[in-house]
Symmetry: C2
Subunit: 296 residues, 2 copies
């Protein structure tokens, strides 16, 4: 019986691979870094010496990589997955990348009868460890059905949204909304603070109404503590919003809120705050207005 491949054992990929091992999958894994490769091998996977070795021995291959160029290189590059995969192989790219790149890569795969699905996740490291990620997939329905059970070993939900690339479009839609909600909260709370009104009282007064959101309840208590430990790093949110700009450019969509917020986030990154949680966006506003929202 063919194995399941897993390439990319970073913060997210490592616990996801371990959950597949726990669920009984016969895993062959690869990463450029030795340490996580050894760790996942110790957990029961076969460590491959190359991407090619994974591709030659698996009929389903999961990739979990940082961004579009990495997925292009691993799948389409010399010695990569496509060069070595059998016909009928299913690639499940769970990375969060540009849907434009996804479509390009999937089209190349299709020429060699390899099917690619995109299946980015949301939920971050804690949910990757718990196996409770939200998985948004795009691509061929029959292929999705073949890997659906596997996806449920890593996530609490796995929804097929549309054709290939739709998973990443959905992820980007999610990231636009999260960014806008964080920016709105920040703009509102800094105005309140600068006007002499306690942000905590404002939060308590409005959270039950139309301004209520998961972002407000997840991030505002941390803002009041001045706690910007990640969570989801500003740097990663910049990456996602950059992919929004990429997709918007290709489809000719206006994304003025995204453009505004990516500018704020980049300024924070220049200030050395790229590793802060994205709730730390409020620091952009605090700096511009010379106030702080944290409790004294």
């Amino acid at each position: 019986m063919a194995k399941t491949g897993f390439i990319g054992l970073g913060i997210m990929g490592k616990p996801m691979a371990k959950n597949l091992i726990k669920a009984g999958y016969d895993l062959i894994v690869y990463d450029v870094a030795e340490q996580p490769l050894k760790e996942v091998a110790d957990a029961g996977a076969q460590a491959a010496g190359s991407i090619a070795e994974v591709a030659q021995n698996a009929d389903v291959i999961v990739t979990m990589l940082p961004n579009s160029p990495h997925v292009k290189e691993v799948v389409l590059g010399g010695g990569g997955v496509l060069e070595n995969a059998k016909e009928g192989t299913i690639i499940v790219d769970m990375s969060s990348i540009s849907p434009v790149a996804t479509k390009e890569i999937a089209a190349e795969c299709a020429k060699k009868s390899v099917v690619m699905l995109d299946a980015p996740v949301s939920g971050g490291e804690p949910k990757a460890i718990e196996g409770t990620l939200a998985i948004m997939a795009g691509g061929d329905e029959a292929a999705f059905k073949k890997v659906e059970k596997m996806l449920h070993c890593m996530g609490s939900s796995a929804i097929l949204v549309g054709e290939v690339g739709s998973g990443n479009v959905t992820k980007l839609a999610n990231q636009i909304i999260v960014a806008a909600n964080i920016a709105g909260m920040s703009e509102a709370m800094v105005l309140a603070s600068k006007s002499g009104v306690d942000p905590e009282k404002v939060y308590n007064a409005i959270r039950g109404g139309l301004a209520g959101s998961t972002v407000l309840d997840a991030k505002m208590p941390l803002v009041l503590e001045g706690n910007f430990k990640p969570g989801f790093r500003i740097e990663l949110h910049i990456k996602d919003l950059q992919n929004v700009l990429d997709a918007a450019g290709v489809t000719q969509c206006e994304v003025p809120i995204t453009s505004e917020i990516i500018g704020m986030m980049k300024e924070l990154r220049e200030d050395g705050k790229g590793q802060d949680d994205h709730g730390g966006l409020i620091q952009y506003y605090e700096k511009k207005s010379g106030v702080q929202c944290r409790k004294k």
Copy 2:
């Protein structure tokens, strides 16, 4: 026993005044329009012939007016409340106005030993009728305690947030967040639609995660129906965001998201959509990108 005054019987003021009558308050009311004045008189209030008559006969006076200039005129103008009120009168301005104007008006009132509280509301006409508004108050605590019971006849909550003007600052904070959440949703869903992904599927895939919000669940189903009946009109949201710009100017706060969104809303108003619900902001994006998010 002195009466309770109520000035401004518009869409919001009329049902609020009626709820006070129902709760047993001896009301003396005024409005420039005859029809609502007659309607509230028929419900049991005394219709006054002028603002002065209200001010001379009441020890607590509620005002519910469109915007800052109207409150200034009614309270500070010739023949207005302040000219005719007894010392110790409490003005409860429940209008949504600029907190800068609130502070100016309250300062003038204080010179004549008249106390002004600001107590704007959120919830719109349906909650005004039900008496379940959310009331955000600012001002003197002793004065607030005196009117707190009355406020609870109009709202399900009435919170004292801080000094006078804080109620309107809180309301503006609320309106910034709501605007940002609507804009984020719109930007995300139009990008999805333009990318060939069904917005309804995106909505269902992301609403349970960090992108979830009261706005998303309240407005997205209406967007999918193409239903932009108000609700809360774009025109009124423009008014509130204009007051944000006013407050931000005085306190020297940056409000880039507000500035961006007020521009979109004004363009929609020029297109004749100022009377649409603010969820109709998505029409700005739809127009720019040449797609529609409603179900076919």
